[in-house]
Symmetry: T
Subunit: 72 residues, 12 copies
């Protein structure tokens, strides 16, 4: 967030899903939201979840983030 | 949520209002959001509130949900 | 919120930034969101933050609100 | 809540107990509080609990609500 | 909970899934846990979620409860 | 709170509504509760909400406080 | 809480202050509220605080509880 | 918790009930769970509640704890 | 979670400890619980903690998760 | 917060007390902490409380903030 | 907290450990912090935890408090 | 935390910033705090946030931790 006067931002809640890591799931959410919504400025992680495969291994990470962008 | 790789979902917050029951208020929110926004996959209840009429009876339920859909 | 049957509302999360006061930051968020999104009905404050200048004074208030409007 | 200037409301916390449903427990709380306290305007559900009978069935719902009324 | 001295209870977290209503999902959780675990005494609702079908209707309620039973 | 031994206080939850500012809404709640209930000692803000008029301006602040007084 | 049908309870928030222990502060709140308000059934601790004297010792415990009684 | 590599612990939620004090209720939960479940390593208090007798005195403390033990 | 009717799940709370990363600690918890308890379906991260060695480096991650499996 | 690599910040919790307004209490906390501790960068409001005088008017605002500064 | 104008307090988070009781652990934290930091005014309990010995008895209480003192 | 009698710990809140991963940001906070403050014993993650660059990629992770050390 740059500093100035009279600005407005919007927060949206996005879930990114990726197999490798929590960071990959965050990047998945950020990339998709940046291209389909708006240029995002920052994010906050809300929740980290995941799916477990039949082999007893984490098969994917599901990370819920709030991402923010300026309303111009 | 089906399981796979590299997917992204968006969560929106909706309030449904109905007179009959909490379930009717949830369905009201889901129906309206499905038709005007996107095909929704799942919901989570955030808050249950309501209005009380002059006769001391619950006159409507107001249920706040978060509903999620895939960003394709 | 007026009272009736079968209505639906959407909540959006907005951050208003202003130099004068918390109330000015709320109004900044409400004004911008009203003009670029929808006619808003009510708001709830989520978080009050701010930036501190080199002179040790609060240089701006950043107020996160949830604002709601009817989905018609 | 009607809109105007300089009004004051009081919130009280009430638990309604009923055998049929969550909605019946809310109505139980609202009816009793309306008759013994004040004309209530709205409620917010705080907690949903219940008792389980020897037959393994829910024997009653206990719903904690906050109910509000105007201080005139 | 009956009242006495020196008793101990255990809380377990169970998710019941049912198509009809929130109450049916609670009963599903309670019935299954009563038969496979222990005679339960009371429950507390933690979370209400659900799945939304392709037709934009709630297709099932998923209710997370904590259920308690005495350790004898 | 003065310090001593064996005292008891009661907390009540009040909503003050005012058009000018958050502080005015707090004072509205405190004044009304002081005159109709008891001499209050301190307050804690629970929630700040508000109504938005048709002109896209905050038309009133609704501030929920808990106020405490000694039970003598 | 005895179990039956169609009952209603009220929760009040009370702060007990005592010098000896947390339990003494809870009893202080319960005794005072029982005599001046109603026959109470159960309590839940909300917050434990205290004052520290000039000698660096805890000089009193302030315990906030919610206490419940049946509305008959 | 001793420190090492690749260990796993399980947390269980237990309610201890005792008449004397909060500490006695914690010990009640810990003793019972240690003998019927596993050797416990540490606990965290979740909630402190209690019952109030007809004489307006606390008749028992009910303390909810999470207790942890190593899965070997 | 597959979708159907009348299913029941149980959530257990597990702490995984690993030296390499948060993901390794999650996998540690999931692997151990899968082999000693049940085939798990999904997890939710509750808490991320860790130990710090004498050299001022993180020596292990301790991740608390809730893991769920179907009660059949 | 300026953006770069490998930076560290410390958060401290400060209570500012002022008679005029919530903003004055925040500024009181920020000014005192800036002069006696460090050059602060931003703050987050944690809690707003206050004292009520014998005349039933708010006599001071007590605002708890977390303030952050870079550890260089 | 005495009442006046333009005061500032700092809150610090301290963990006291003692074998006898929760109150002893609070006093341990308060005594140590008073002597090594500042003259403290009040405290708030954040968390109560403890260690369990091999004999299945609570071997120590660990109480996390926030303690406050005036910044003069 | 080693186990013994009558010990005291202090918790401080630190934000580590790093470009590579969440673990790198935690280590950044821990290293800096260890060298400039005290020998730390353990940490708890409070919040995970980050900045997003103009290319729509996460450009840094900002992790808020609480870190603890013994007051001797």
């Amino acid at each position: 967030m740059s500093y100035g006067e009279g600005r407005t931002y919007k927060k949206v809640e996005i879930i990114g899903v990726a197999t490798e890591s929590i960071e990959a799931a965050i990047q998945q959410a950020v990339s998709k939201a940046s291209s389909s919504l708006q240029k995002l400025s920052w994010f906050e992680v809300q929740e980290v979840r995941g799916h477990i495969g039949d082999d007893g291994r984490v098969s994917e990470y599901q990370v819920v983030i709030k991402a923010s962008f300026e309303l111009k």
